[in-house]
Amino acid sequence: MPGDEIESAFPRLRLEGYSITSPEADDYNCIAWAGGDTARKWDPDLTSGRFWPDSVPRTLDLESFVQLFAVKGGYSPCDSEAIEEGFEKIALFVGLDKEVTHSARQLPSGAWTSKLGDWEDIEHKSLSGLESACYGRVARILRRPLPDQAD
């Protein structure tokens, strides 16, 4: 997807800074990408070709995704998107209908990485760069100890 279409969907990205870091792909989505999986789509829908843990409710509600990342990565809610030494963070976005629209994962630099639907992966300096009519706003930050920091 050319950068101008990305910037049309997410007008703040260009101002706040981003770069494209992968080709387009439709075999994984932003939730899988945040969870470190590039082989599957993580999606609660029952349509074939999607992954979702049996123990997590099959809804697009925020709490289902909090539970998903607890089960699939040991993440728990925290208060700040600021980088914290020894922790990895995930941000969950929700739209006006309160359903989850997107997730982003924090990089060691403090920047964020996102898979934009079927479009490319990007690295973006801020979460607010993706706040838009498409993705709504950040509703929850999760964190987990980095592997070498965990007991």
Binding site: M1, E5, N29, K41, G49, T101, L116, G117
Partner: protein, 112 residues
């Protein structure tokens, strides 16, 4: 009592060329407006995707052409259109494998 002489299906009104043209325009709109969406339900609720489902089996050759060429998440549409209920990708949690299973079904049934 007067009866309305209305065509039963979209396809009865359309030539193969106009049907393909209509599909192409709907698919273009759907890709453009949902490419950034993360979940199939958000993509499948788009009006253009629903209109393609409404084309019924006439859309299948075009859907398989897209699936084989440009890709895209057409599995909700396939599961909605194909009757009697068939799902060659039932239980598959990997998208690529599900697409491969549907492409094989499409080929075996003369759609792809």
């Amino acid at each position: 009592m007067a009866t309305l002489n209305m065509p039963n299906t979209w396809a009865e009104q359309a030539t193969p060329e106009s049907l393909e043209q209509e599909f192409n325009e709907l698919a273009r709109r759907w890709r453009s407006e949902t490419g950034m969406a993360s979940f199939i339900r958000q993509k499948a609720m788009h009006p253009a995707y629903q209109m393609i489902i409404g084309m019924g089996k006439d859309a299948l050759p075009f859907i398989f052409r897209e699936l084989r060429g440009r890709g895209g998440d057409w599995l909700w549409a396939l599961e909605s259109i194909v009757r009697p209920k068939v799902n060659p990708a039932q239980g598959t949690t990997n998208f690529k494998e599900a697409v491969a299973a549907w492409l094989k079904w499409g080929k075996d049934n003369g759609y792809a």
